[in-house]
C-alpha cells in the first residue's frame, strides 16, 4: 500500500432510533484532541433532535422492557463482544480524547468492556435481589417486582468519554429502560463509535439514542420533556444542576444527582440499577 494514500475520514453523526442522522439543524462542531489538534467534526444536536430521540426511545420502550431478562443479558454481553473486536479503535479514540497514554487507554477500554459484562449478568438477577414476596397479614399472595422506569435522559460524564459513558448507560438499559444520552461535549468520539457498535449489535434501534453537542443546550429540553421519566445529572455542569432539577419537577421525574467526578474504574454497586427501577406491588387473594 502506498504511503501517500489519502485516508478516508470518518463522519461522526447522531444515533437516533437506530439510524445515524445528521442534526436536523445542520450544525456541527469541531472536536479536538487534548492538545487542541483537530480530530473530527461532530454533529451538534438541537432541541428537535432531542425531541426525536425521546420519541425513538419511547417507541422502543415496550419492546425492550418486554424482552426477557435473559435476552437483554445476551444483548448486553454481545455489546461487550463487539467492543472487544473494535478494541484498538476505542483505545485510539480514548487516548485522543482523554490525553492518556495508550496503556492507560487500553485499561480504560478493557474496564468499559468488562462493565458491559458486569451489567449483562445483572439483567436476570436484579429482580431476585430487589423483588420480594411480601408476607402480608391476610389471605393474599403479594409480590413486588422491579420494573423499568421508562425513558431516561442521561447526561454522560464530561471527562470519562468511554468508561464513564458505559458506566452510566449500561445500567439504564440493563433493566429495560430506554434512553437518550447526551455524550461528553468535548470528547464525543468514543460515544459515536460506541453507537456504531450498538447499531451492529443486537440492541434494538431506539433503545439507546446518542446525541452529541452542547450539554447546556440539550439538557434543559430533556429535563422538561414530559415524556422523559428520569434524568441522570452526572455530566451536568454544576451551574445547571438546580435548574435541571427544577425543570424535572414539572412532571415529577426521578433525578439521579450523581456527580461527574467519580473514579469510574471502581467496581460499581447496584445503585444505578435501582435508580431507574419502579417497584410494582401486586396483590391477589388466595382462595378456592
Amino acid at each position: 500500500m502506498s504511503d501517500n494514500r489519502v485516508t478516508v475520514a470518518k463522519t461522526y453523526k447522531l444515533y437516533v432510533g437506530g439510524a445515524f442522522p445528521r442534526s436536523e439543524s445542520g450544525r456541527s462542531y469541531q472536536v479536538t484532541d487534548h492538545k487542541g489538534g483537530f480530530l473530527a467534526n461532530a454533529a451538534q444536536a438541537s432541541r428537535k433532535d432531542a425531541r426525536d430521540a425521546v420519541s425513538a426511545a419511547r417507541k422502543a420502550f415496550p419492546g425492550w422492557s418486554g424482552a426477557t431478562a435473559y435476552n437483554r443479558g445476551q444483548v448486553l454481553y454481545r455489546v461487550a463482544e463487539l467492543m472487544e473486536g473494535r478494541r484498538e479503535q476505542f483505545v485510539a479514540e480514548v487516548a485522543g480524547a482523554e490525553g492518556v497514554a495508550i496503556k492507560r487507554a487500553q485499561s480504560i477500554v478493557d474496564a468499559a468492556i468488562d462493565r458491559w459484562v458486569w451489567y449483562a449478568g445483572w439483567t436476570d438477577k436484579i429482580a431476585t435481589v430487589l423483588g420480594a414476596a411480601n408476607p402480608v397479614a391476610g389471605p393474599y399472595f403479594c409480590f413486588t417486582v422491579p420494573e423499568p422506569t421508562g425513558v431516561v435522559a442521561v447526561l454522560a460524564p464530561q471527562d470519562s468519554s468511554l468508561l464513564g459513558l458505559v458506566s452510566v448507560l449500561a445500567p439504564v438499559i440493563a433493566t429495560g429502560s430506554t434512553c437518550v444520552v447526551v455524550s461528553s461535549q468535548e470528547r464525543p468520539l468514543p460515544a459515536i463509535t460506541l453507537s456504531e457498535v450498538l447499531a451492529t449489535s443486537d440492541v434494538p434501534g431506539g433503545v439507546v439514542n446518542m446525541l452529541t453537542g452542547r450539554t447546556t443546550e440539550l439538557a434543559p429540553w430533556l429535563a422538561s420533556h414530559a415524556d422523559v421519566n428520569a434524568l441522570d445529572l452526572t455530566g451536568s455542569p454544576d451551574s445547571l444542576r438546580a435548574d435541571l432539577e427544577r425543570a424535572a419537577s414539572g412532571t415529577v421525574k426521578r433525578v439521579l444527582r450523581a456527580g461527574g467526578d467519580q473514579d469510574w474504574a471502581r467496581q460499581p454497586d447496584i445503585g444505578r440499577l435501582r435508580a431507574y427501577l419502579e417497584a410494582k406491588t401486586v396483590w391477589h387473594p388466595m382462595g378456592v
Binding site: 402480608v136 393474599y140 415529577v252
Partner: protein, 478 residues
C-alpha cells in the same frame, strides 16, 4: 328501597376520644404553645369546632428542626438499632392500647366512618410501627449495603385523608432507620398526630426524636425548605409535590413523594362479578373516596357493562351515609367544606360535559359535609371527571372491548399509583399486571395495605416507596 327494617343509630361514644378543648404542638419532647395563628379543627360530620390547635411559626419550625438535629446527633443517630427498635415496639403497643381512643378521635376530626378508623386506620398504623421496629437492627440485611446510615433530620408533610396512618407511614420507617422527625399534619386533621406525640412521650422516646408541628401549607413549606433538614417525605397532591420537588432542586435533600392518582379498576367479562362489585365499591367509596389510590375510573368490558352497572347501582344504594361515629355508617363526611366544594365543582363539570349522573337516593344528614355516592356513566377519556383526581365518592365508568384497549385506557393518564384487575383468568391477570403502569396492582381485590408491601407511584404519582424493604431506601444514605 323499602325500609322494612331501620337500624337504630349505634353511635360510638365520643367520650372515648378524650377530646381536649385545646391542643399544642410537640417539640423536643414537650407540648408547647406555638407562635403561629391558632387553628380550629372542625368536626366535618357536624361542622362543630372540636378543638383549638396551636400552630407553628417559622421560628417554631427552626426550634423543632434544631431539637431534631440535637436528638439525632446526641442520641438517636448513634443509638444501637436494637435499642431504637424497642422504643418503636413500645409505640406500636401503646397505639394498640389506645386504639379505641385514636379511632374515635380520628372519626371526629376527619369524618371517616368509625368502622374504618377502628378496623383499618388505627390497626394498620400500629402494624407499621410494629413492622418497622423489627428493621431497626437488621438494616444491613435490607440489600442496601452492609451498614446503611441514616440521613439525619426528616421533614415530613402528610395529608388529611388518613391522618394517623400517614403519620405512621412516615414516622415508623424514619425512626427505624435512625433519623429524627419533624412532621406537619394536615391543617384540618391535626389531632391524632398530637395524640401520637403523647404516645411517644409515654414511650419515653428521647426528646426531639419526633416533633409534630400543626399548621397550614406555610408551615409545611418551612419544614421542607429548612436548610438543616436532610430528607423530605411528602404525601399529598401532585400539584404540591411538584412545588416541593422544585423547591428542593439543588439542595441535595433526599426526597420521596406519594402523590395523586386516577386509578383504573378494570373488570373483564369473566370476573367474579359480585366480588368485583364489592371491589369497585371499596375502591371508590372507601374513606369517602378520599384515597390517592382510589379506583376512580371503572373500566368494564362492554359485554357485561349493563349487568355490572345494575348490580353496582343496587349495591351502592345500600350504602349508609351519615354520622361518622355510627358503627353502621359506610360513608362518612367529606373532610372539609373546601373539599366538598371541589367535588361539587368537578361533578358539575361532569354534567356539563354530558356524562350521565346517577346518585344514590340515600338520605344525607342536614348538618355536616356530605356527598351522596355518585356514578357517572356515558363517560369518555377527555372529560375532566376522568382526567382529574376528584378525591370524593364519585366513580366514572368507561367501557372497553379488548385487553389491549383496557391497558391503553388505564395507562392514559400522567398518574400511575394503582390499578385494579378483575378476571378469573390467571394468565390474563399477570399479563395485565405487567403492562399497567402503576405502583400497586390489585387483582381481584382492591385497597389492601400492609406494612410489608411497598406502596408508591409511577410517573406523576410520585417516587419512592413506603413499606417493605423498598421503603427503607428513602430513609437511608444509600
Amino acid at each position: 328501597m323499602d325500609k322494612v327494617w331501620d337500624y337504630a343509630p349505634a353511635p360510638e361514644s365520643r367520650d372515648i376520644a378524650n377530646l381536649k378543648p385545646s391542643y399544642r404542638m410537640f417539640v423536643d419532647g414537650q407540648f408547647v404553645e406555638g407562635s403561629g395563628e391558632p387553628l380550629k379543627s372542625i368536626n366535618p360530620g357536624t361542622e362543630e369546632v372540636l378543638a383549638e390547635v396551636s400552630t407553628a411559626s417559622g421560628a417554631d419550625v427552626d426550634k423543632a428542626v434544631k431539637a431534631a438535629r440535637r436528638a439525632y446527633d446526641r442520641v438517636w443517630g448513634k443509638m444501637p438499632g436494637a435499642e431504637r427498635a424497642k422504643y418503636i415496639f413500645r409505640i406500636a403497643r401503646l397505639m394498640q392500647e389506645r386504639g379505641r381512643e385514636l379511632a374515635v378521635l380520628e372519626s371526629l376530626d376527619n369524618g371517616k366512618p368509625i368502622k374504618e378508623s377502628r378496623d383499618v386506620d388505627v390497626p394498620t398504623a400500629a402494624s407499621h410501627f410494629f413492622y418497622h421496629a423489627g428493621w431497626a437492627d437488621k438494616l444491613g440485611y435490607a440489600g442496601l449495603g452492609p451498614d446503611p446510615r441514616p440521613l439525619g433530620v426528616a421533614g415530613q408533610v402528610i395529608p388529611w385523608n388518613f391522618p394517623l396512618l400517614m403519620a405512621a407511614w412516615k414516622i415508623a420507617p424514619a425512626l427505624a432507620c435512625g433519623n429524627t422527625v419533624v412532621l406537619k399534619p394536615a391543617e384540618t386533621t391535626p389531632l391524632t398526630a398530637l395524640v401520637l406525640a403523647e404516645i411517644c412521650q409515654q414511650a419515653d422516646l428521647p426528646p426531639g426524636v419526633v416533633n409534630i408541628l400543626p399548621g397550614a401549607g406555610d408551615v409545611g413549606a418551612a419544614v421542607v425548605n429548612h436548610p438543616d433538614v436532610n430528607k423530605v417525605a411528602f404525601t399529598g397532591s401532585t400539584e404540591v409535590g411538584k412545588i416541593i420537588q422544585s423547591s428542593l432542586a439543588g439542595t441535595g435533600k433526599k426526597l420521596t413523594l406519594e402523590l395523586g392518582g386516577k386509578a383504573a379498576n378494570i373488570v373483564f367479562d369473566d370476573a367474579p362479578l359480585d366480588q368485583a362489585v364489592e371491589g369497585i365499591v371499596n375502591g371508590i367509596f372507601f374513606n369517602q373516596g378520599h384515597v390517592c389510590c382510589a379506583g376512580s375510573r371503572l373500566l368494564v368490558q362492554e359485554s357485561i357493562a349493563e349487568e355490572l352497572l345494575e348490580k353496582l347501582r343496587y349495591r351502592v344504594s345500600t350504602l349508609r351515609v351519615g354520622d361518622p361515629l355510627d358503627k353502621n355508617t359506610d360513608i362518612g363526611a367529606i373532610n372539609s367544606a373546601e373539599q366538598l366544594a371541589r367535588i361539587r365543582e368537578l361533578t358539575e363539570a361532569g354534567d356539563a360535559e354530558g356524562a350521565d349522573r346517577w346518585t344514590s337516593s340515600c338520605p344525607l344528614p342536614d348538618k355536616g359535609f356530605y356527598f351522596a355516592p355518585t356514578v357517572f356513566s356515558n363517560v369518555h377519556q377527555a372529560m375532566r371527571i376522568v382526567r382529574e383526581e376528584i378525591f370524593g365518592p364519585v366513580l366514572s365508568v368507561l367501557t372497553f372491548r379488548t385487553p389491549d384497549e383496557a391497558v391503553a385506557k388505564a395507562n392514559n393518564t400522567p398518574y400511575g399509583l394503582s390499578a385494579g384487575i378483575w378476571t378469573d383468568k390467571g394468565s390474563r391477570i399477570l399479563w395485565m399486571a405487567q403492562r399497567l403502569r402503576a405502583g400497586v396492582v390489585w387483582a381481584n381485590t382492591f385497597n389492601r395495605f400492609d406494612p410489608t408491601a411497598p406502596f408508591g407511584g409511577y410517573q406523576e404519582s410520585g417516587f419512592g416507596r413506603e413499606g417493605g424493604r423498598a421503603g427503607l431506601e428513602g430513609y437511608l444514605n444509600v
